[in-house]
Subunit: 206 residues, 2 copies
DNA sequence: GTCTATAACAGGATAGAC
DNA sequence: GTCTATCCTGTTATAGAC
């Protein structure tokens, strides 16, 4: 249980990678254990040997995906950067993340809806819930100081997050509606790093 | 085939309503014919009598949902309203739509990813593809006239659409992250109608 | 740990009576 | 048109040999 960790690690790692790929693309209901086994280069029985059941395996993947997608930002929100820099850093970080993990947001959003108000969130941010209130205070403060136009923190935050994430979620529509291929789409998202930041600052800055 | 339309209409209608509810909440893979039958107050066999197969039934629902979600805007994009009013109307229309159909966007986005570059879009906008290029021209024009700050039409459009739709897609996260219940969420989205329009105008207007 | 073979079951689809 | 009963395929899960 300690000695053979290398062997385990290898297979277990292969399974996790395969499962991640399949689940993220097809979702819990759409994924097939057979596909995961194939992609991992093993057989179904071994999946159960390692993870007992499909649901158990899914939980591992989902939790990790959600953790990547969501509270990575806790630190950023809570940091003591000036507001404008915080916004810039947020947008860049998030768009970079999604460039590398295009299926991430839709997967998480989708599966999250099925569990909804569950105690799932507790498990997700164990104790250290994203410090969204710190950012909120910072925004309120900036308004009070007359540094930015009046806006409720929720809305400003929602705006920034929306503009950063949504295009990836709507990828097929963007591609069809605007007639771009994958490469062009990538370029477009790259552009957005600057565009979104500029857009936000233009809006809130007096 | 003409005489008994009333009877048919009733059952068929019940089925369609039930199917819509179940499919929108669970997706194609997650939906169970049994659940649809139950919700419609009939039995499985009758579903097949009316719609032959699960896939066929799904196609009806999906196409209608996509049609509601997407190209309803064609008219708006193509209209001859001034830019600022067009933006305002768009945001209000869309948020109203989603207030009444909260599951719509995630459902469409999600299922759309599975078909992706398919000839599906052809079927969707039969001939009358949303007149997105008209809006694009209008934006370019406004930039050239110095009416608004320079911005590429794709990005402006993406920004507006993102801010209008994304919060509904991320509903569970918003609710948990900000600690609001359904009623408060509704109020928040209602607020956004004005907030988003204001935000956009503040950003682009010189 | 890893495999093959098979059990166990869920869920979509059909037959046939009414 | 609507129902009950049943079939049948695909998929998760387990048994047991190596």
């Amino acid at each position: 249980m300690v000695e053979n960790k290398n062997k385990d690690q290898n297979t277990e790692q292969k399974i996790l990678e395969a499962a991640k790929a399949v689940f993220l693309e097809r979702g819990l209901d759409g994924a097939r254990m057979q596909d995961i086994a194939d992609k991992a280069g093993i057989n179904k029985a071994l999946l159960h040997y390692y993870f007992r059941s499909k649901d158990k395996l899914f939980d591992v993947i989902f939790l990790e995906a959600a953790a990547r997608f969501l509270p990575q930002l806790g630190e950023l929100f809570g940091s003591d950067l000036p507001l404008f820099e915080k916004i810039e850093k947020f947008v860049h970080t998030y768009i970079d993340l999604l460039q590398e993990n295009p299926h991430l947001p839709l997967f998480v959003l989708n599966e999250m809806q099925k569990v909804d108000g569950k105690a799932f969130f507790e498990k997700l941010w164990k104790g250290k819930k994203p410090a969204v209130h710190i950012l909120a205070k910072q925004i309120d403060q900036a308004v009070k100081e007359g540094l930015i136009r009046p806006i409720r923190p929720v809305h400003l935050l929602l705006n920034i997050v929306s503009m950063s994430i949504f295009p990836f979620v709507a990828r097929p529509i963007v591609k069809m509606g605007w007639g771009v291929d994958d490469t062009q789409f990538r370029g477009l998202m790259e552009e957005r790093k600057k565009v979104v930041v500029q857009f936000v600052l233009d809006s809130i800055r007096k």
